[in-house]
């Protein structure tokens, strides 16, 4: 992953909160002093049951905000994998919600990260925060935003939320981040083989 | 005693005032105005009770009525 720019597509069913997830990442990037852009799926792409958005985090000025070749795809459901799997840049990352997506034969030139986001969210007592679990997980990989940035940004994103809600959001971040940490993904190397034959 | 005044430059000769005057003391004048209209005129001002029906009926607001103040 280039240290200068991260191009992300976030996709899932409507209602899984992928647009908000994108906004969380973009807003965090902005507060971390990066250039950012966020575009929701729009037009013909909207058909077919997936909602998605594109986010760019960059050290430099963002020319085109369109993401055609993502560095990272965060997929919350199966159709999103089908739709975006082939577009990921070689050497990029597919981070997917393994609660809803079965392990399968993916491309072997990308990094795979599986997060059982729904299960983690249910453990926390609120299935709606599965998206934020992914945000926490993403911060583990990002070179442009950190977990602390994410945490710092949260109160501004959920203005007027009750303390319990804020707490559960923070917990979701943390769980996602920790999940990646515990699994000890090998950063900087392509770990496609990790899943092969397991 | 009343005074009946018409602004002939506004009168279009439609005849509504003549038709509505309860005392029938209005008629067309026998001269043309510069605009080519035979205007309404009062034939017997002494009889006018200043009821102002003519003035109120005039679509061109051409008539003014005055009455002697006691």
């Amino acid at each position: 992953m280039s240290s200068k720019v991260e191009r992300i597509i976030l996709a899932g069913f409507g209602g899984q909160g992928v647009l908000f997830l994108g906004k969380v990442i973009a807003e965090t990037g902005m507060h971390a002093g990066k250039n950012v852009s966020w575009i929701p799926s729009y037009g013909p792409e909207m058909r077919g049951g997936t909602a998605n958005c594109s986010v760019i985090l960059s050290e430099n000025e963002i020319a085109s905000p369109m993401v055609t070749v993502p560095d990272t795809v965060i997929a919350m459901n199966r159709p999103s994998v089908t739709k975006f799997n082939q577009k990921i840049k070689a050497g990029g990352m597919l981070m997917y919600n393994s609660s809803l997506i079965e392990r399968q034969e993916f491309r072997d030139d990308i990094r795979l990260v599986e997060i059982p986001a729904n299960e983690i969210a249910e453990e926390l007592g609120n299935p709606k925060v599965a998206n934020l679990v992914m945000a926490g997980a993403y911060s583990k990989f990002s070179k442009l935003i950190t977990f602390d940035d994410l945490v710092a940004c949260l109160p501004g994103l959920v203005k007027g939320a009750k303390k319990e809600m804020l707490d559960i959001n923070l917990a979701a971040f943390k769980k996602g981040f920790d999940y990646v940490e515990e699994k000890k993904y090998m950063f900087g190397r392509y770990v496609y083989s990790v899943f092969k034959g397991i | 005693m009343s005074k009946w005044v018409i602004n002939e430059s506004l009168c279009k000769g439609c005849g509504i005032c003549i038709a509505r005057c309860p005392l029938k003391i209005l008629a067309y004048a026998d001269h043309l105005t510069p605009k080519g209209v035979y205007p309404a005129a009062i034939t017997d001002e002494a009889k006018c009770t200043s009821c102002a029906i003519c003035a109120r009926s005039c679509p061109d607001v051409a008539i003014e009525i005055y009455k002697e103040e006691k």
Binding site: - | G13, K35, V37, Y38
Partner: protein, 243 residues
């Protein structure tokens, strides 16, 4: 020598007829003719229908020829506002100059005449029904009769004469003129209304054997009175241009 049309001296002439019958051109010519013959005339523009064919467009040109033009106020001259000029009533009432009234084409143009029928009757006005048998709605004896009946009903005025204006604009030939004229003559016979005269464009007059001394004017062609037109109004996109 101009042959005066016998009823020409009537103090007021109303021209009615279908849209495009040639009323406005005839009204212009008649008023110019009357102006030269009687030392002045008045042309009243009562057209509330089509702003593109109103005599007011040619006001300055005909006024230079001694015709007093009465038309709605200056501010509505280019507007689609059917305001009638109040001076029209004054002009019809006033004794003196000959008055020609141009009425807008088609049925709606006839409606305002309802406001004038009494004054027209009191003045013994000529009411000319102008027929161009080459206009839609007038091309067969049946159609012509139906249109005539219908329009007379709307105009509320008693038609006193027919006027034949058989033309296909620039394509009018002698044969065509005679063919159309015959139809109007036939119609005049059926209705018992006199055919006052036929309208002839100056270009055609020579071919019909009319010796012209001055335009516009009344001439005789055999047993027919013809009124030969000066073309003031050639085509609407040339309006305002007088030769």
């Amino acid at each position: 020598m101009n042959l005066p049309f016998s009823s020409d001296a009537a103090p007021a002439t109303f021209l009615i007829g279908g849209a495009g019958a040639g009323k406005t051109e005839l009204a212009l010519n008649l008023s110019v003719f009357k102006s030269s013959r009687y030392g002045g005339s008045t042309l009243i523009d009562l057209d509330i229908v089509n702003p593109f064919f109103r005599v007011r467009k040619l006001r300055e040109e005909v006024e230079a020829l001694g015709v007093k033009v009465i038309c709605p106020g200056d501010r509505v001259v280019s507007g689609d506002i059917p305001a009638l000029p109040p001076a029209a009533w004054g002009a019809l009432e006033a004794p003196g100059q000959a008055v020609v009234c141009d009425i807008g084409g088609g049925e709606p143009g006839l409606r305002p005449l309802g406001r004038m029928k009494d004054i027209a009757a009191a003045r013994g006005a000529n009411v000319f029904f102008v027929i161009n048998p080459f206009r839609p709605g007038f091309t067969s004896p049946g159609e012509l009769a139906e249109s005539f009946r219908h329009m007379c009903g709307l105009s509320a005025m008693q038609v006193t004469h027919l006027v034949a204006n058989p033309n296909l604009s620039g394509e009018t030939s002698v044969e065509l003129f005679r063919e159309g004229l015959a139809m109007v003559q036939d119609f005049a016979g059926k209705t018992g209304l006199p055919l006052a005269f036929a309208v002839v464009a100056s270009e055609l007059a020579g071919k019909l054997g009319v010796a012209i001394e001055g335009l516009p004017g009344f001439y005789s062609s055999g047993d027919l009175d013809v009124f030969v037109l000066e073309r003031y109004w050639s085509v609407p996109w040339h309006f305002g241009v007088v030769r």
